[in-house]
């Protein structure tokens, strides 16, 4: 661990996340037969939002959003990006699993203060969705930890670097598939875009966010994308030895996510929950049982 890594790692995640936001808009535009915005568009948007006057709805409103950003940064610190792994030796998968809940919780706290019915519906949807994938995620991580007999991500990555990727190891195939199936829900892309759902509840929790708050929420979203995918890449696609190769893997997974986003409509909340507690949870459970038995 090095102090420069603690600064570098969140910065890197931020840059990559914002770049991904721009890229997703560009690729979506191309699928729509459009030219699309410049790839720097999210940066411009964020600058604009910071320059606007913003209305606060109370102390909790301010605190919640900062809380959620801080939570995101904390998670980033525990995830290795290639060789940059500031804290990932000290914590482990369980720590990540806990702090990953902070970001949605912070948003929930903050937008709950706004007392807009749209945002309260959005929060309840978001928490339900989180509950939906968290269960499978827990099972998947348990399977991983039992298989590798460690809770440290760095060690898991190192073990994969020596052998084959977890996705192709026999007992871990099922959890791997389950992870792929819940990945759109973790990223919040189209079939599971239920907490934002602009056409239903006008962007849900973000409905009262303007100016700085919106910019922070955007940044939190960028972090969330990077966290969701990097975790998958580290755990199942073998991580990487250097930074470029790592982010290439992240990019490929992300592009897959955009394509899923482009060809599906939004699910209803109960349909999404039913889906998440269906096949993915079953596969993850089966995988866990197999791993334990082997």
């Amino acid at each position: 661990m090095h102090i420069s890594e603690i600064i570098l790692s969140p910065l890197l995640a931020l840059i990559v996340g914002v770049f991904f936001l721009g890229l997703s808009r560009k690729i979506m535009a191309r699928i729509h037969w459009r030219y699309g915005p410049p790839i720097t568009q999210p940066v411009i948007d964020i600058i604009r939002m910071f320059s606007q006057k913003s209305v606060s709805h109370g102390n909790l409103f301010n605190f919640g959003i900062i809380f959620s950003i801080a939570g995101s940064i904390a998670v980033v610190l525990f995830i290795p990006f290639g060789r940059i792994h500031p804290l990932s030796n000290s914590g482990g998968l369980l720590v990540i699993l806990y702090i990953m809940l902070l970001a949605p919780l912070g948003i929930a706290l903050s937008s709950g203060e706004a007392a807009n019915p749209n945002s309260s519906i959005g929060i309840s949807r978001k928490l339900l969705l989180t509950l939906g994938y968290e269960f499978s995620l827990l099972l998947i991580l348990l399977a991983l930890m039992t298989h590798y007999r460690t809770i440290s991500i760095t060690e898991i990555v190192a073990l994969q670097q020596k052998g084959s990727w977890s996705l192709f190891r026999l007992p871990l195939v099922l959890p791997g598939i389950a992870y792929i199936l819940i990945l759109p829900a973790i990223l919040g892309v189209r079939p599971f875009e239920i907490s934002k759902a602009p056409q239903e509840i006008s962007s849900g929790p973000m409905v009262e966010y303007g100016g700085t708050y919106l910019a922070l929420a955007k940044i939190e979203h960028a972090f969330a994308i990077v966290i969701g995918i990097s975790l998958f890449v580290n755990l199942f696609l073998g991580g990487a030895n250097n930074l470029a190769f790592f982010f290439l893997k992240v990019l490929l997974v992300f592009i897959l996510g955009i394509f899923i986003n482009a060809v599906f409509p939004r699910l209803r909340t109960e349909q999404a929950i039913k889906y998440l507690f269906g096949i993915p949870a079953f596969l993850a459970f089966l995988g866990l049982v197999i791993t334990v038995l082997i």
Binding site: P117, A197, A262, P265
Partner: protein, 366 residues
């Protein structure tokens, strides 16, 4: 769970047109829905009483912005009936072709709105692009993209330009070639079926009771179409079928709309083949400033892309209409039916149901 009052519209991404619904919700479930129209009320029927018969044309087409053509037609039909004007044969054909093009354009707009409600941007973008191709045809024919003012009492304003028929055929082939794409991404998509089947169910009895028309009643299996029942323009000259579905839910309504588009395109091809090559396209009408129409009243109706469109028009023998009242299809759909079938549904399905009924707000408010 706490009951919340949620304002759906008028400023809302899931709202097409300036319309608002107040929802009483418990969690995601709607307890009660109250439609709240009037954001677009301009008092058309009052303004028409202050303008001469011909001056009203630019006004009436603005009643429905999505599809002004049928409103032009219904007003022309009313004036023709009161004044006893006949439409020449070729004029009738041109009217039919033009109206069917308008129907396709309007349904594509509906498809945009609908897929947008489901969060299906891709199809929404495609549909809007294809609608634009048809608007290009309108622009060449009439000089305007949106408000064409092409139909006039006694026929249409002018003949098709040279080679226009070929252009229509070419454009429609371009759009028709993409139907497989639409089917595979949208209509056959499993999630689309999951989202629409059984949603916004309107069975036959309720549909009749609440005055459903157009595709809302055709989706319950009845071939109720004014073009067949009371043919106007040249709809009785060619063979065509009324597409129906059995389900009565949003899925059936959407597929009815798709089949209707395809049927319209086929009908346009048949009409172009059968259209007389020569002849006038309109009957001369008197000087519009001095034109007086004999006393009387009439009710005329036609099939717009959302259903039965009617006009009750009264003349007192003067230069101006004494009273005109439009019976618009969205009126019953948007106020009576929407309020009734929204209760008990999910919030996620408000836009879904509203656009599957194809409610267009300016038509309600007038």
């Amino acid at each position: 769970m706490r009951e919340l009052e949620l304002y759906y519209g008028p400023q809302h991404l899931g709202m097409v047109g300036n319309f608002s619904i107040t929802l009483n919700v418990e969690g995601d479930r709607i307890k009660k829905a109250t439609a709240n129209p009037g954001y677009l009320h301009r008092g058309f029927e009052k303004l028409m009483e202050c303008r001469t018969w011909m001056q009203n044309f630019p006004l009436v087409c603005r009643i429905n912005v999505v599809e002004p053509d049928h409103i032009e037609l219904i007003y022309s039909m009313g004036v023709e009936k009161l004044a006893g004007i006949e439409v020449p044969e070729k004029g009738k054909y041109i009217r039919s072709i033009y109206l069917e093009l308008a129907r396709v354009a309007s349904h594509l707009f509906g498809l945009w709105a609908y897929s947008n409600m489901l969060g299906f941007d891709t199809v929404a973008n495609w549909a809007m692009y294809h609608r634009d191709l048809i608007l290009d045809l309108f622009e060449e024919l009439t000089g305007a993209r949106v408000y064409h003012i092409y139909i006039r009492p006694g026929g249409v304003r002018r003949d098709f330009p040279d080679g226009f028929e070929d252009k229509i055929i070419e454009t429609l082939h371009t759009i028709g070639g993409k139907i497989p794409d639409y089917n595979s991404t949208f209509f056959d998509n499993r999630l689309f079926k999951k989202r629409t089947k059984g949603i916004g169910k309107l069975d036959r009895e309720n549909a009749k009771k609440m005055g459903a028309v157009g595709h809302a009643i055709r989706a319950t299996g009845m071939k109720y179409d004014i073009r067949k029942i009371e043919p106007y323009a040249a709809y009785d000259q060619v063979e065509w079928d009324v597409p129906t579905r059995k389900g009565g839910d949003a899925y059936s309504r959407l597929l009815t709309i798709r089949d209707e588009m395809i049927e319209s395109v086929h009908m346009i091809f048949k009409l172009i083949n059968k259209m007389p090559k020569k002849g006038t396209v309109y009957t001369k009408t008197p000087n519009p400033f001095k034109w007086k129409i004999p006393e009387g009243d009439a009710y005329v109706r036609c099939e717009s892309s959302r259903g039965e469109l009617g006009l009750y028009i009264v003349s007192d023998g003067g230069k101006k209409p004494y009273r005109a009242h439009f019976r618009t299809p969205s009126y019953s759909h948007g106020l009576t039916i929407l309020e009734n079938i929204l209760a008990g549904e999910d919030i996620a399905d408000v836009g879904n149901i509203m656009m599957s009924l194809y409610v267009v707000a300016p038509e309600i408010d007038r």
